[in-house]
Amino acid sequence: MKPSSAILIKQGRLIDPANQLDAVKDIYIENGLIIAIDDHIDQAKNSAVQEIDAKGLIIMPGIIDLCARLREPGLEHKATIRSETIAASKAGITTLCCPPDTDPVIDEKSVVDLINHGVKHAGHSHIVCLGAMTSKLKGEHLSEMAALKAAGCVGISNASQPITNTLVLRRALEYARSHDLTVFIEPNEPYLSNHGCAHEGAVATRLGLPGIPDAAESTIIARDLELVAAIGARVHFGRLSSARSIALIQQAQQQGLKVSADVAIHQLFLTEMDLSTYNSHCHVLPPFRELRDRDILRQAVASGVVQAICSDHQPHEEDAKLHPFPATEPGISGLDTLLPLTFKLVTENILDWSQAVTALTSAPAKILGIDKGHLSIGACADLAIINPNKDWTLETTKMKSQGKNTPFLGWNFENQVVHTIISGQLIK
């Protein structure tokens, strides 16, 4: 990404919770950096400056998405670095965090280099990678975490692959702590999940779908928290789905453990009820749970027990969802809807603007340990400009991701991304 010429954004409502700022300001960008923020900035001295009139618009730091599968390398028929970073760049998302379950797995430096090479040539947004916690994600041997960190990985994770051997997990946490690496965990006890595809409850019983109990998530969190308490590692639990999990995380945080959490945005809207018509677009893992779980997840974001909201982006080709429900591939293409859905929570008075922006920007930046997610002078100019009063309806033709698999088709939204600026470059 080349730094473009200067941009002056006039009179937008700047929401930058990291700097406790929510006010109408001008913002001046040059050489990829934020140069000035003030009540009024004149551009008289330079006519090459591109001016954007942002009256009535919201300006916020670019979104940092904690979990987005780009499908490259390995599953390029679903999506590519190019297609998904373009989609991100149209959706206000300026940094994507890629979990290590690519093919090949990100368990050695060469794969990180491969992805970085792809980003350099075809990337339209920033990408950071998580390295594999264990070799090939098999949960048996530790990966070369120090080398992965040196190659640029911002943390380690076993992605959706569970580590059933608790001794391996203990050593991975100890080793990660020795190298000051955050461990990202998607909690799932595979014996309890038992190849299920829906929340174990009344709806799955009625539809005859193999169920996944919420204990499949919370037993792993309980186990892992005991190790965190003993080792002092820094752990992030991602894609939580159940009320029980929230209770455990909250308790751990109250005890002073270094534990953070995120939730996928679709978990804040949909429940098991949405599976009633065998809608395969609602096949996600962890599964949509009960209304009560959804409401407690929402409260947890508002109270800060869950710090971040991510897309859990999993683009698929059309065929992946054209089977009977249990045979379809799980996952939702989420980049296009991350921002409009999150701001719907503001409209519904679940979050205020500052909370919503924090959960999408400064909170995930802090979890990843990267210097982003704020609009400070001298910071990299990654930001999104939003029209908060634009009614629109999601249709596949409007989606920029290569994957059109979403249960939100036909939903109405009030907030729309007008511009994304990445490293000072205006995305057209």
Binding site: G201, R206, M273, P324, F325
Partner: protein, 341 residues
């Protein structure tokens, strides 16, 4: 009478889950699940089936109702009884029948269900009878086939086996009369994996059955089963106490793996229906089983073959019920084509 309004007030019934079963006139178009079908339609099926039992007892067991129609039996799971009775039903209605056993056919070569359906559709099939290992497969098929084609669910995963439920209702009605509200029905065994039990529960509730009980250890019961409108019993004697109808379910051998149950012996001792345990039910209780039965696992031989057993009546009724449903669904579409012309 907890069950009376179980269906009407059940908030778990999704909106258009079943509506694709009915055409714009409210007539049966597909037969995918009992859910969403009113007691009128269920009664119509039973009455029509009752008429067809006459045909089945004649020397010439054939009526020309579906002459010229092609019915494709598409079985992705092994089946003897269900497939055979569907085939006989179609033949007695004078339809042409195509039997396709997919476990030895296309999908082992990697063809998707959708491609299989489209290919057979191109051969001018009028009806698919589908059995598939995945819950929701029949709904999936009904959503994707051409509008003139009817889909009959012959069992999808753990979800539904609605023709089995209808033949069970017919058998109960023949033995216990038309008023289901006076009946106490106990369904015993592996409810968790049973599409038969789910369809029976919906069907019995739709006909206002007085009390429906499910009897099994917790490992064989799905979560929140009571929300379907049943009472849960862990104890066989209590579960069949004063029952009018006992429906025993088949216990698959593979349930002994995966820690569902300790052993066949213990299951038989706790949940097997024997001449001793049968005494807890009403003296005139009938014993049913969707088959195939495991003698000495869920049911004692002398009970399966005993006076109270109506297991073979169920099999005969299977043909009549399937004839009724086939003629009702295809009759509807035949009428529509006539109107267009």
């Amino acid at each position: 009478m907890v069950n009376k309004n179980a269906r009407a007030t059940n908030p778990l019934l999704g909106q258009d889950h079943w509506n694709i079963q009915l055409d714009e006139n409210g007539r049966l178009k597909h037969f995918l699940t009992i859910e969403g079908l009113g007691s009128e339609i269920l009664t119509e099926i039973l009455d029509t089936a009752e008429n067809f039992t006459g045909v089945n007892n004649r020397t010439v067991k054939k009526v020309p109702l579906l002459r010229g129609k092609t019915i494709t039996n598409l079985f992705f799971e092994a089946s003897t009884r269900t497939r055979t009775t569907f085939e006989l039903a179609a033949k007695r209605l004078s339809a042409d029948v195509l039997n396709i056993n997919i476990s030895t056919s296309a999908t082992s070569k990697g063809e998707s269900l959708l491609d299989t359906l489209y290919n057979l559709q191109a051969m001018q099939t009028d009806m698919f009878v589908i059995r598939h290992q995945d819950s929701g497969a029949a709904h999936f098929a009904a959503r994707h086939v051409a509008p003139h084609i009817s889909v009959l669910n012959a069992g999808d995963g753990r979800h539904a086996h609605p023709t089995q439920a209808m033949l069970d209702l017919l058998t109960i009605r023949q033995n216990k009369g038309h008023d289901f509200s006076a009946l106490r029905v106990a369904i015993v065994g592996d409810i968790l994996h049973s599409r038969v039990a789910r369809s029976q529960i919906h069907a019995l509730n739709t006909l206002n059955t007085g009390e429906i009980r499910v009897v099994a250890p917790r490992t064989l019961l799905p979560a929140n089963i009571e929300k379907l409108g049943v009472k849960v019993h862990y104890n066989l004697q209590q579960g069949i106490q004063d029952a009018d109808v006992i429906i025993m379910l088949r216990l698959q051998k593979e349930r002994m793996q995966g820690a569902m149950l300790p052993s066949e012996l213990e299951y038989y001792q706790q949940y097997g229906l024997t001449s001793q345990t049968l005494k807890y039910a009403k003296p005139d209780a009938i014993v049913m089983h969707p088959g195939p039965i495991n003698r000495g696992v869920e049911i004692e031989s002398c009970v399966a073959d005993g006076e109270q057993s109506v297991i073979l009546d169920q099999v005969s009724n299977g043909i009549a019920v399937r004839m009724a449903i086939m003629s009702m669904t295809l009759g509807t579409s035949a009428q529509q084509t006539g109107d267009e012309k």
